[in-house]
Every structure is written in structure tokens, then in C-alpha cells.
């Protein structure tokens, strides 16, 4: 039954929702990403794990994925931009695809 299964694209949609929501945007919950906190930090500060932990806590279905299925990359775009890429079991969600997050 199609209604009882979740496709990867649905999960990707949830992550997109999370990426589009700043932290504390919903009344009474800390749901949302804190992307701005990643700015002006050293490259080797290991913030990616914390960022993903928050994502997994906010979107509990991700915890059901096998270990290592969730990855986070940053790639430099030009001189002054970073592109954030979240890889969910092979489906890539890029922050770019949401439009500019200023």
C-alpha cells in the first residue's frame, strides 16, 4: 500500500522544510536549523555533527535510517560563499535548491 511507505523524496522534503525554517520559528518549540551559527567559525571546528544531531532530533524519522546514511558537506562557491549539502541515503538536498538563504 503506497500510503504506508515513505519515499526518500518525502524525507528529503522534511529536510527541506527543516532547512527552510530558522530555529525557534514555531511557537513553543526549538524546531529549525541554526545555519547562521556556522558562519565565522573555523573550518575544522567539527560543527557538522552538531548540526546533523539537531536535524535528527527535529526530524526523528532520520534516526531510522542506517548509520552513515546522513552526511553533510560544505563546498566553496566562489570566494565568499559556501554551499551546504545534506546527503540522505543518496538523495542530495542542497541549500541552494531552496533559493538564497541570506
Amino acid at each position: 500500500m503506497a500510503g504506508n511507505t515513505l519515499s526518500t523524496s518525502e524525507i528529503a522534503d522534511m529536510v527541506r522544510h527543516w532547512l527552510a525554517t530558522p530555529v525557534n520559528a514555531y511557537l513553543g518549540s526549538g524546531y529549525g536549523n541554526d545555519l547562521k551559527a556556522l558562519l565565522q567559525q573555523p573550518m575544522n571546528s567539527g560543527l557538522a555533527d552538531g548540526f546533523l544531531q539537531k536535524l535528527v532530533a527535529d526530524v526523528p524519522v532520520l534516526a531510522a535510517l542506517p548509520a552513515g546514511a546522513l552526511n553533510l558537506y560544505m563546498e566553496p562557491v566562489g570566494k565568499d560563499q559556501q554551499r551546504l549539502i545534506i546527503d540522505i541515503a543518496g538523495t542530495v538536498v542542497s541549500v541552494d535548491s531552496l533559493g538564497a538563504i541570506a
Binding site: M14, L27, G28, S29, D58, V61, A64
Partner: protein
């Protein structure tokens, strides 16, 4: 009160009717859940608000209710300007006049206006009176011809409004008539009203009902006197003229000799709570005993202590005397003002309301009430912290600065102390905890005693239940 979890449980109970949503709910899809949770939070906040509203008929639980009640009872958010007596010393050989309306500045640049001027003789001194206020003018063009036309008076950036005057463009003044009492049709009067946000508005009358209704296009000038309220100036503070034109004036030495009326901010919530606990009164005048108390508090607040009583109350405590007929007994204390000035101000207010009374001044007698509180709390609690907490609670309720003490003639109630302590201290809510209150109070309360519980008269013992 319903909590967030209660609302979510309700949502969960019916979500099976919507299979797609149920699936999303099961995997805790944030696209659905974030919205549901925020709605549940909002509803729980609303539920809390409703609980407060349900309590309102019995106690004024919210500050905004107190403010609204005060607005309805016509207590306006006015500040009281400071009035000072200044001595002007002329060091030149030319006499110069200081006219009424001349503006002075103090060391902080606050504006004072001379109310009683004087001519300062050559090489001599003169005394002048000044009040700390500055006018702001609002020019309003009437935009609609309507009954009870309102003009809002904007709140000043610094300080408080002390007085409002209204005049038309030719300078013909309108009379301030509270609540439009005893007015005729077309009489040029205005009324002031405020609301729970402490916004002040000038209200005019209505055609064919009473008062003057302004016409469209008419220009009205509203002058608000703005004062900074509560100011502390040390004796001998220097003042200067805002503009000094002659050599004699610029050399003049102006110093503070006395504060004749201390400034005050508008009544705070605690005072308003006190004021609005009186039943509604007829246009601020006084007839019965309690009315005079209200009248004085409303006009001259804040008091350190005020008790007003009549013949009947006096004879209850000190026995009858024919001299007590038509006499009003007043004991009053106010911070920052000398007794003579305070008594003169009280006399002015009382005689304006009813000049058939004779006033007898009674000295305020301060008295400390010995209170011993024995608490038994289980030894898992820090007895020192419990003791300190109990002291703070009792002193806040019955201390020298409490509203209870300032009102006078009250008893320290065992029930009140017990319930206060039980509500606020967790240790006193334990199963084995006990509270014992011992108050050694006078059998007869004299109305002029300013009674309070002080740091030294309060003893709190904390022990472990045996």
C-alpha cells in the same frame, strides 16, 4: 488549565481518520507536527489566560484590569510637579525683576517656571517660587462633527503630564469639568479620560445634551504641562535663568531654599490597586468618613502613612467629648515634605470638598508589632534558606513599606501569614511541616499608629518536626 500535551493527545485521538496525516504523524513529520505543536502551545497559552480571566471577578489578577478600573473611576495618570522655593541673590548694583512665567533651569537642565516672582533689590536677595513643569502645545484641527469628540494627548518622551488645558484658536479657555457634572448646553467645558494603556484624551460635549461640540475645521489648542515627577535635589542646589539678558541677571545666584511640594510619578500599580479597592465614588467629592481617605489619597498620593477618622471612631478608642463634633481626625506622613506644607495641602483638599469639618491633627505614632513565627520543616530542606524566605515574605506583606502598613488600622492575621508562607515556601508544603504564628498585638488599635513588622520585631524560628 489545559496543557500542550492535552491538546496534542486530542489531535492524536482523531488523526486516524486522515490516513496520510496519520502516517506523517507516526513518523513525526515536522511539516505536520511543527504546526500542530505550535497550535497546541498557542491554545494552552490561551487556556491559561482564560483561567486568569475566570478569577478576575473576585480578584484583580492582572495589572491591566487595575489600570482599566482606575481609568473607569476617573483616576488620571497625572504626575505631580515639584514646587520649590528659591532665593535669588543680586550681586550687582542694579535691581531687576523676576517675573511670573520666567523659565529657570536646574543643574540637570530640567525646566522650572516661576509662579511667584519678585523684584531683586541691588545687592540684596529675594525669594521666588517655581514649579518644575514645561508646557507642550498640541494644535488640533477638528476633523469630524461628532458628539463627545476626543483628542488624544500623546504621552511625553520624558516625564509625565501634570495638567491639561484646552483653548480655542482665539485663546478662549475651556473649563475642566470632571465627568461633565452640572453643565449647560453649549457651555465650553471638557473632560479628561484615560484607558488601560494610560493614554490621556480630552473629551468635549454633545450638541443638545450638554457642553460644547466642536465644529469641523475648528482649531483647538491643547496645552499639556509636562513634569519629570520624582526629583531629588539637595538643599542649596543652584539654578540659572534659561535666558539672561542683562549683566545683573547673568550674575544672579539662584539657590534652592525649600521644597514646598515634592514631585511624584503617576500612581504605580500597587497604589492604584489600593485606590481602586474603594467603591466608586461620586465625582471625587467626599461625604462619608471613607470618602475623605480616598479623596486625600487620590489627590496627594503617595503617602508614607495616612489615617482619617471621624468622631465615632475617635470615641470608640478615647471616649466621648463634645469637642469631637464635626471634627475630622487626620494623621499623615509623607516622604520629602515638611509637616506644615503637608498639612496645608491636606487642608486645601478637605476644605474644597467639605468646609464644615474642623480638622484635628494627630501625630503619627510608629509602633512595631512583635511577631514570632515557628516553622517546622523536614530536615531535607535548608533551614537557613527557609528562614530567610519567610522573613522576606512577611516583611513584604507587613513591613514598613507595605501597602498594609501605610493604610493603617489592620491586624496581622494568622490565616494570612500562614497561607502566604504555605503558598510561597516549598518546605512548608511538606506533609510534616507546620506553621505557628504568635502575634503580640495591642488590644485596642489607635487609628494614628503606624504599625508594621520590622526586621527587629520579627522572629522566625525553624525547627525539625520531632
Amino acid at each position: 488549565m489545559k496543557t500542550k500535551a492535552d491538546y496534542l493527545a486530542r489531535a492524536e485521538a482523531v488523526i486516524a481518520d486522515y490516513p496520510k496525516a496519520a502516517l506523517a504523524y507516526q513518523v513525526r513529520d515536522p511539516r505536520l507536527l511543527a504546526m500542530l505543536e505550535s497550535m497546541a502551545t498557542m491554545l494552552s497559552l490561551h487556556s491559561m489566560e482564560q483561567d486568569t480571566a475566570a478569577m478576575e471577578p473576585w480578584t484583580k489578577a492582572r495589572d491591566v484590569t487595575v489600570l482599566a478600573d482606575a481609568a473607569v473611576k476617573g483616576v488620571l495618570p497625572f504626575g505631580t510637579p515639584m514646587r520649590v522655593s528659591l532665593s535669588v541673590q543680586n550681586i550687582t548694583a542694579t535691581a531687576f525683576p523676576v517675573l511670573t512665567g520666567r523659565r529657570l533651569l536646574d543643574q540637570q537642565g530640567r525646566i522650572y517656571v516661576v509662579t511667584t516672582g519678585a523684584t531683586v533689590p541691588a545687592n540684596g536677595t529675594a525669594t521666588i517660587q517655581a514649579v518644575q513643569q514645561a508646557p507642550t502645545l498640541i494644535t488640533h484641527t477638528v476633523s469630524a462633527n461628532q458628539a463627545f469628540y476626543r483628542i488624544e494627548v500623546p504621552a511625553p518622551e520624558i516625564g509625565y503630564i501634570a495638567e491639561v488645558r484646552v483653548a480655542d484658536s482665539l485663546g478662549n479657555a475651556f473649563t475642566y469639568t470632571p465627568e461633565f457634572t452640572n453643565i449647560e448646553i453649549e457651555q465650553r467645558v471638557f473632560h479628561l479620560e484615560s484607558d488601560e494603556n494610560r493614554t490621556l484624551a480630552v473629551v468635549f460635549g454633545a450638541d443638545a445634551i450638554g457642553g460644547y461640540q466642536p465644529n469641523v475645521g475648528e482649531v483647538l489648542n491643547v496645552t499639556a504641562q509636562v513634569t519629570e515627577g520624582d526629583i531629588t535635589l539637595s538643599e542649596g542646589s543652584t539654578f540659572v535663568f534659561e535666558y539672561a539678558t542683562t549683566l545683573a541677571e547673568s550674575g544672579a545666584k539662584i539657590t534652592l531654599t525649600a521644597v514646598t511640594q515634592p514631585g511624584a510619578a503617576p500612581m504605580d500599580i500597587a497604589t492604584l490597586r489600593e485606590i481602586t479597592s474603594y467603591p466608586s465614588l461620586y465625582d471625587g467629592s467626599a461625604v462619608y468618613n471613607g470618602n475623605f481617605d480616598f479623596l486625600l489619597r487620590r489627590n496627594l498620593s503617595p503617602f508614607r502613612f495616612l489615617a482619617v477618622w471621624n468622631e465615632q471612631r475617635e470615641e470608640e478608642v478615647r471616649g466621648p467629648n463634645v469637642d469631637h463634633m464635626n471634627r475630622l481626625f487626620i494623621a499623615a506622613l509623607k516622604d520629602g515634605v515638611d509637616t506644615a506644607t503637608l498639612r496645608a495641602a491636606i487642608e486645601r483638599v478637605v476644605y474644597a470638598a467639605d468646609n464644615s469639618y474642623r480638622i484635628r491633627w494627630v501625630e503619627v505614632a510608629e509602633s512595631e508589632i512583635p511577631v514570632t513565627v515557628n516553622l517546622q520543616v523536614p530536615d531535607v530542606y535548608d533551614s537557613g534558606a527557609v528562614q530567610q524566605q519567610a522573613r522576606e515574605i512577611i516583611l513584604a506583606q507587613y513591613g514598613r513599606d507595605s501597602a498594609w502598613a501605610k493604610r493603617g488600622s489592620g491586624r496581622v492575621l494568622y490565616r494570612r501569614v500562614t497561607s502566604l508562607l504555605e503558598d510561597a515556601i516549598q518546605a512548608c508544603q511538606a506533609d510534616e511541616a507546620d506553621i505557628q504564628v504568635v502575634v503580640q498585638d495591642d488590644a485596642v488599635l489607635l487609628p494614628e499608629t503606624y504599625r508594621y513588622v520590622s526586621e527587629t520585631s520579627l522572629v522566625v524560628n525553624v525547627s525539625v518536626p520531632s
